[in-house]
Subunit: 253 residues, 2 copies
Amino acid sequence: MHTVQVDSDGLVACASVGLEPGSARWWIQRSDLDRRRRPRLGGLSTERIIGAALDVLREDGLDALTVRAVAERLGTSNASLYRHIASRDELIALIGDHVMGDIRIERTGRGWRADIEVLMSEMRRVILDQPLPDAAGRNMHGYGPNMLRFVNAAVTAFDSAGLSRAEAVYTTIAMIELVAGAATIQRSRSGRSPSGVPAGAGFDELLDRLPPDDVAALRETGDVYLSAPADAVFAHSMAIFLDGVTSRLPAGH
Amino acid sequence: MHTVQVDSDGLVACASVGLEPGSARWWIQRSDLDRRRRPRLGGLSTERIIGAALDVLREDGLDALTVRAVAERLGTSNASLYRHIASRDELIALIGDHVMGDIRIERTGRGWRADIEVLMSEMRRVILDQPLPDAAGRNMHGYGPNMLRFVNAAVTAFDSAGLSRAEAVYTTIAMIELVAGAATIQRSRSGRSPSGVPAGAGFDELLDRLPPDDVAALRETGDVYLSAPADAVFAHSMAIFLDGVTSRLPAGH
DNA sequence: ACCTGAACACCGTTCAAGT
DNA sequence: ACCTGAACACCGTTCAAGT
């Protein structure tokens, strides 16, 4: 898995020679390799592979996202993909950043708070739109070009709010943590069985089986926990976060 | 994968008849099945399986966490595990809640803010301690007994701060989103290649290759983004969140 | 440089047979 | 009720051979 792959023509093939997909050097290496390409007419490309992978993901879900399924959708052999991606992990890292590329970055003209609200909502939207596993994790590493563009926009907005550069960066990381966690948890909370049963069905019965002291407050508010609308929960999370940032602004902002 | 599994003695075997692992009904079903068990001397049990899985996870990492590896560690055949767990997904859901069971829940006596700080730090600690994939996702579903105990403790603390019950619940969800996102992202940020290279190595060179306008702010603060210590970032994220909650408290609190 | 069929070394899961 | 060896239907990845 981590051995070096040498081509018949003596060149190290496409990518990932011991480099972790998503890491800074890995992204550098990828841009190098992309430049050295000689695409054939109607041949494969990383973009076509990502596109097909997104199709598979959207139609058949995450479990169906296999190298073989992507190849079949492209009408080629699965072995062919390995000239453009070094592993399935690379494909997933590429998808992660590609998804971040859908984020619309634009200043609202209505101040930093509005700008950040748009950035947070956009990030949530694209994650929910294209559900990868572990959205908060290595797929959002932070070194892909689209992710860095997003980070830069957030730092700029917090900067304009009056935060120091260092605090703007820390605050940006906090923002990303919150949105990534919110989107991923929403997905699991709204999950259902294959038969269509919501994940929370039977919640009251479940509470009855647990030690009463462990869930005393939940017994009184179970329904709120169970059926809080995802959009309202996110709006509330975002409000807490933005209020917290506001309270830390230097006087005069 | 989702077909019903009937035992030779006519009973539906161990678990998951179309129920999503981690859902409320699935947890109910599991407690039913555990009660119907007749353990043999030196035989298997769900607890022993989880323990072995945690050993594998800690020693050899996530990729090594296969049903077969767990069985080998227990000195049995992999087929034997399927009497206690219905699938690998079930095993992972069980591990997720088991990990949450390590959280120490105790009131500090120093007010709601100190209580919440402890809860957040504890949740982060156990996630980082036992790195499952997708910590923010289905493994933290929210319906396992240990997770519910944790949720209840947080709701209670926010309640004592003066929030309404409904707002206490929303705020608890926001808290979990933040911690889950923070822990998962920290894991990816501190990742390294097999060769030991940090994920961020080569960051400046990477910035040089991107459109200057896309990363203007990062060029000036790249080092902060790159090497912000994880503990400091978390402390900052937590402070923003707690300040935000404070600012939303009704007057008099 | 790119593409491919065939093969390798795995997986999760099932099943019939045993205690 | 529990356990097991053997098998099934996959998977990611590699390799030699072709253009």
